[in-house]
């Protein structure tokens, strides 16, 4: 418990408008009114294979764009708790990104991957060990870009096997949610960072109290791959994020062949590749949704 030095007057802030980080896709940005907000915790919930990691990788690169292009002129820290980290995909996206934005790297002879810092996190304790180092990293950074984005992919994996379903364990788990969220929000506020956390879903199992199906946000039901799902980590964790976006895919069991030469995002891409992003709740966005696809070049939204 530090701080005789808290000056309450200093907490008074004329807060400027929150800066946004582009997703790299104009239509998706439109749905999000500019992109992912800084000084805010944004959660992306989806079942495996929907594109959470794709979006996070793309955001990690877009962070390096100049502010005039929707970037944050910064580097990103990618904390991954799921294995393995998709290095090849990052390199692939980085290559495309470099080609599209040569001016950023020309004078320094570096490449986008140099500014994405990847760190694995294997437990909640490990995450708490890392946090103070992030503070030091942002503060004293001698890197070319200041840190502007932190991705945690995923929060659910950190809690997967460590806790039982007993009330006391759930309570312990809950207080850890608030501790993680509190610390990340503190970093976000102090350094004006954008923070993106991914979360998984579980199938909905109706319990007798009916609370597992408790409605949170704009969508009455969350469906993915034809099944009703709920975000992991329950109501407690939902209280810890500022915005929640849900990515789903429709039941696409038909897999059509895609021509390797198909560079455009036209409707000739198979239906099974279509994803949908829904805004579940947000302090400033109306409930809306957007469809997109994952191509070799990255995330690409479909015109409504």
């Amino acid at each position: 418990m530090q701080n005789g030095k808290i000056k309450p007057e200093n907490l008074l802030r004329r807060s400027p408008t929150n800066r946004k980080l582009t997703t790299g896709c104009e239509i998706l940005d439109g749905c999000l009114r500019g992109g992912i907000s800084c000084d805010s915790l944004t959660e992306i919930v989806a079942e495996s294979g929907c594109g959470k990691t794709q979006l996070c990788l793309q955001l990690s690169l877009c962070t390096q764009l100049p502010i005039s292009h929707g970037g944050l002129n910064g580097s990103s820290l990618y904390l991954h708790s799921e294995f393995p980290f998709p290095f090849r995909r990052l390199h692939q996206l980085s290559h495309t990104f470099h080609q599209s934005n040569p001016s950023i790297y020309a004078n320094y002879n570096d490449n986008p991957c140099d500014h994405v810092f990847v760190q694995n996190v294997h437990s909640v304790d490990h995450l708490f060990d890392i946090m103070p180092r992030i503070d030091g990293f942002v503060g004293n950074s001698k890197t070319r870009f200041p840190l502007k984005l932190i991705v945690l992919d995923s929060v659910a994996a950190l809690f997967r096997s460590e806790f039982d379903n007993t009330p006391s364990d759930l309570k312990k788990r809950s207080s850890l949610f608030f501790k993680i969220s509190g610390k990340l929000k503190q970093l976000a506020s102090k350094f004006d960072l954008a923070i993106v956390i991914t979360n998984q879903v579980t199938d909905l199992v109706e319990t007798s109290d009916g609370l597992s199906g408790l409605r949170i946000g704009n969508l009455r039901y969350l469906y993915s791959s034809g099944r009703r799902v709920v975000p992991s980590l329950g109501l407690a964790w939902a209280n810890c994020v500022n915005s929640r976006f849900f990515i789903s895919r429709s039941d696409g069991s038909i897999v059509k062949d895609r021509s390797e030469k198909d560079e455009s995002c036209s409707s000739s891409v198979s239906r099974s590749a279509k994803r949908r992003l829904d805004i579940v709740f947000s302090p400033y966005l109306p409930g809306s949704s957007c469809e997109f696809m994952i191509t070799r070049e990255g995330i690409c939204a479909v015109q409504a």
């Binding site: 701080n3 808290i6 309450p8 007057e9 008074l12 807060s15 509190g182 408790l214 407690a236 400033y284």
Partner: protein
């Protein structure tokens, strides 16, 4: 007949005593407005009498019971005060009506609900609406917004402020069709400037800030609403000493009540909900409710009913239990469009 001893003109003295105010305690126990009415004198004269009465009762030997009477109010005075207290509109008339006209000043109102139900939206709406000038039926005050979660987005506040200005222009245009608009029109930017925004990142900052509020509001007397969004976020982490946490929360709640009474402003505490294991099953409850459920005057629960948002008066000393639906639009909080059974009495 101590009233004879007061240094007043004989006519006023005569009026006092013929109205029945013969002793000093009887004089000091009424408010100046009632004394003026009763005795048929002006309020300034009544005020002067009270001042003299209190002065002399202070200097003479007073028994303990007199100090109990000084400063006490009778129930009529309190009712009169309560009825004339201004209220802050939520911009949703159905919600206003179950609240007795709006969020009441001098009270601490707790509003809780699940994420995404609209707590922050109500908070922002109130911090804008408190600024509605008196000519338009508002309080013409300023707001303090204590953000503990980072949910306050300036662009959203600006949206709501712009809609408020548009609504006011429509209202004044309608009311003052034949008058020149010589009053200074509020601009959305001004509205944002009048929201004193504090960002709090830990429970220690929160405690320090709450302790500082008295001084801040003393220097900014036109603050008429204090919103805390949310009150419990920083306290839901693991505390080594739970007894201390309860004590800290109760003290904080008490401070808010004192602020509300002292400065005649509204305190709105936004709270989260949690699942509580009671009587063999999990139920929804306001977070950390036990620590301080006694310290809030009113409690409102926000919940989903099908596809509609509803507000329910869970606790109030004067309001009946009722629920009302509301919507969150791009312009802020509004009535929901389905007009049937919007307000339900329980």
């Amino acid at each position: 007949m101590e009233a004879w001893r007061l240094p007043l003109s004989s006519s006023i003295r005569g009026k006092l005593i013929s109205a029945g105010y013969t002793s000093l305690p009887s004089i000091s126990s009424v408010s100046s407005s009632d004394l003026a009415r009763d005795v048929n004198i002006t309020e300034e004269e009544a005020f002067e009498i009270l001042r003299l009465a209190n002065q002399s009762s202070g200097s003479s030997s007073c028994n303990g019971s007199r100090s109990l009477i000084n400063g006490a109010k009778n129930a009529w005075d309190m009712l009169h005060e309560e009825e004339s207290l201004p209220r802050i509109t939520t911009s949703c008339s159905d919600l206003d009506s179950i609240l007795g006209g709006g969020i009441s000043c001098r009270d601490v109102t707790e509003i809780g609900g699940v994420p995404g139900i609209g707590k922050t939206q109500i908070g922002i709406q109130l911090s804008v609406n408190v600024q509605i000038p008196r000519e338009c039926g508002g309080l013409g005050g300023k707001a303090i917004y204590i953000d503990t979660e980072g949910s306050f987005m300036v662009e959203r506040a600006l949206q709501i402020a712009e809609a408020c200005v548009e609504d006011m222009e429509e209202y004044t245009g309608y009311m003052h069709k034949h008058f020149q608009a010589n009053q200074v029109q509020m601009k959305p930017k001004d509205i944002l400037e009048n929201i004193f925004y504090f960002r709090v990142c830990s429970y220690t900052e929160q405690i320090a800030l709450v302790n500082y509020l008295d001084k801040f509001i003393s220097e900014n007397k036109d603050v008429k609403v204090v919103i805390v969004d949310s009150i419990t976020f920083h306290f839901r982490q693991d505390f080594d000493d739970l007894v201390q946490r309860t004590r800290v929360l109760s003290e904080m709640a008490l401070k808010f009540m004192k602020l509300a009474k002292k400065f005649s402003l509204a305190v709105v505490l936004l709270n989260q909900v949690t699942t509580k294991y009671t009587e063999g099953s999990f139920q929804l409850a306001l977070a950390l409710g036990d620590s301080w459920s006694h310290s809030c005057t009113n409690r409102v629960i926000l919940y989903w009913n099908g596809d509609e948002r509803y507000a329910y008066i869970d606790k109030s000393p004067s309001l009946p239990s009722a629920s009302a639906s509301y919507t969150v639009t791009s312009r802020g909080l509004r009535n929901s469009s389905s007009s049937s059974k919007r307000v339900k009495m329980m």
